[in-house]
């Protein structure tokens, strides 16, 4: 007596109204970036110059490299506040290596490996002992930079080999710097990993529900550990770049970079609560932050006033879609 109905067909996707694409986060960021670019070109005659535009990229490439890995980490529901301290420690180790007569390849290897090691340390504390990452990395933030201070004190390491200068100061082709190329390559790799691989899919799953992900056969701790290592690795790479760009090491190097990298990630539309975000957003956010700071710099606006703009941008860009939805909902 049971009537069996024919199974209902469920479509893959519903046709989305065009408006939802237009009001996507990335679209919003593109508009903001274009607007700032236009304003900059009007406000300063020096802005539209190949060399200016090239110099501009140095304002964000190093931080953006960290931001890519940080984006994955934040999507997975964790955070790493120690990235700038990792830069300091890696740079200090490279400095020590220089004193011991290491050559450029060895220096790069040391910088990257120290970064990786620090990331692994964070990862172990978080995954093995089950500690909250925000607190762990507040601790390691002091610890890593503290070690740099113990080693260096009031001294500086310098005398990096001339060939080492290429990473932070070199140009691959005309005005295209090595840092910019590295940034673009990293953007593509991270985009692919996050959006096109099963690893990336698992990262999203962990960020949305770590327990269900674990029950679904996702090796949550292993993936989180890898993400911490990646973040450390990118910090190590950033350390190579910045050390090369400055040509010297002090323990206070890269102070405050962690908040800028996180700002980039959040501005890029990655949910700070985990589970959502895109690499394209982070790339756009990096450009926006570079454009704002460089554009205001050309007008000789003090850095702290620029930071007001960045802070406002962060809140406004996040508030806008919410307000928009609310307005539409009411009408």
């Amino acid at each position: 007596m049971t009537d069996t109905p024919a199974p209902r067909h469920i479509p893959d996707r519903l046709d989305k109204p065009l408006s939802s694409a237009i009001f996507s986060w990335e679209a919003l960021l593109v508009v903001v970036a274009i607007a700032i670019f236009a304003i900059n070109s009007f406000a300063s005659p020096y802005f539209l110059d190949p060399w200016s535009l090239s110099d501009l990229t140095f304002n964000f490439t190093e931080k953006a490299l960290i931001a890519f890995a940080m984006a994955l980490l934040i999507i997975s529901g964790e955070i790493d506040l120690s990235v700038a301290a990792i830069i300091a420690l890696a740079s200090t180790m490279m400095g020590m290596a220089v004193q011991a007569g290491a050559g450029t390849p060895a220096l790069v290897a040391i910088g990257i490996l120290v970064g990786l090691g620090c990331g692994a340390f964070n990862g172990l504390l978080v995954t093995r002992l089950g500690l909250p990452s925000i607190v762990v990395t507040i601790g390691t933030m002091s610890l890593f930079r503290g070690i740099a201070f113990i080693i260096l004190g009031d001294q500086a390491y310098k005398g990096y080999p001339p060939s080492f200068a290429f990473f932070g100061q070199g140009y691959v082709w005309s005005v295209v710097s090595f840092e910019l190329v590295l940034f673009l390559v990293a953007a593509i790799i991270y985009w692919f990993v996050l959006h096109r691989t099963s690893f990336g899919r698992r990262v999203f799953a962990i960020g949305n529900n770590p327990i269900a992900a674990q029950f679904s056969g996702v090796r949550v701790d292993r993936i989180k550990f890898i993400l911490f290592c990646l973040t450390g690795l990118m910090s190590g790479i950033a350390s190579v770049l910045i050390t090369s760009r400055l040509g010297s090491t002090r323990p206070s190097i890269a102070q405050g970079y962690e908040l800028e990298a996180i700002t980039m990630v959040v501005l890029g539309g990655v949910s700070i609560l985990g589970g959502a975000g895109s690499i394209l957003g982070v790339v756009l956010a990096a450009f926006i932050m570079g454009l704002v700071t460089f554009g205001l710099g050309l007008l000789n606006v003090p850095g702290i006033v620029m930071s007001i703009f960045i802070g406002l941008l962060l809140i406004i860009v996040i508030a806008l879609p919410i307000l928009w939805r609310r307005l539409r909902g009411n009408s």
Partner: protein, 325 residues
Amino acid sequence: MKNILRYREIWLLAAIAVLIGLISMRFPGFADPANLRQVFNDTSILMILALGQMVVILTRSIDLSMASNLCFTGMVVAMLNAAYPAIPIPLLIVVALFVGLVLGAINGLLVWRLNIPSIVVTLGTLTIYRGATFVISGGAWVNADQMSPDFIGFQRAAFLGIPVLSWIALLVITLFFLLMTRTALGRSIYAIGVNPTASVYAGIDVGRTKFVVFCISGMIGGLAGYLWISRYVIASVEVANGYELNIIAACVIGGISIAGGIGSVGGAVLGALFLGIISNALPVINISPFWQMAISGSAIILAVVLNARGERRQGRIILKKAEAA
């Protein structure tokens, strides 16, 4: 829960006692009551700030803008004092509380009305408030010389042999204790941290409570602004730069769970005291200042590890119950 909390605070108290003991071995005068009283006084501002941060963290939020708020409000009162030295100090304190409240309310409104995660809001206002300090001051500093003697002297005046600053800290501690244990607001704050969804169902207005919590941390930031500026007698854009992390570290060491719902006034106070003692003692016992950062970093990690041990949930223990039954 009460038992475990009490347990954790005693742990921390013991750690502090051991710390003082160790320092005294290198520097015998450290454990003198007079010196300890001074350490308390030196840590007062951090304690007050940690309490303000605590209520925020308990609701699963975070206020990264406290130090910037402190800087801004401090600058406002310093400039006011420089321009109108006749304004009495109690009135200035009211102004500081009010300015702080406004800054806190801005955070709170964004969190409440727009539902933006607090870490994002306060990451933004962290830079905005400090930048605003630059704007209102034109970047200029307010120096000791421009401040009135009352402005500087108020917190230093002794009452019953103890400086007013310490009294203010004691007053704030008492108020927070009453707030957290004796009022409905206090219980709501805990409930929101324990289970935000259940809180909505229980009729707690989660958004508005968060707003109130940010107002509290804002007022605390403002109060600390006046205290800080009159203590260190210089108001500049760089005041307390990066101090937000010290405040959070004090809370963490004090056993306040960053996931919300767990923590106590005693914990926050002891956590601040622990950090205060370390920064007070290092110069005294002749440890190179370059070690300070690494030491406090290690202390934070150690504290989290220990706290996590205490917090670790035990299983349901079916078998034990079966035997008992």
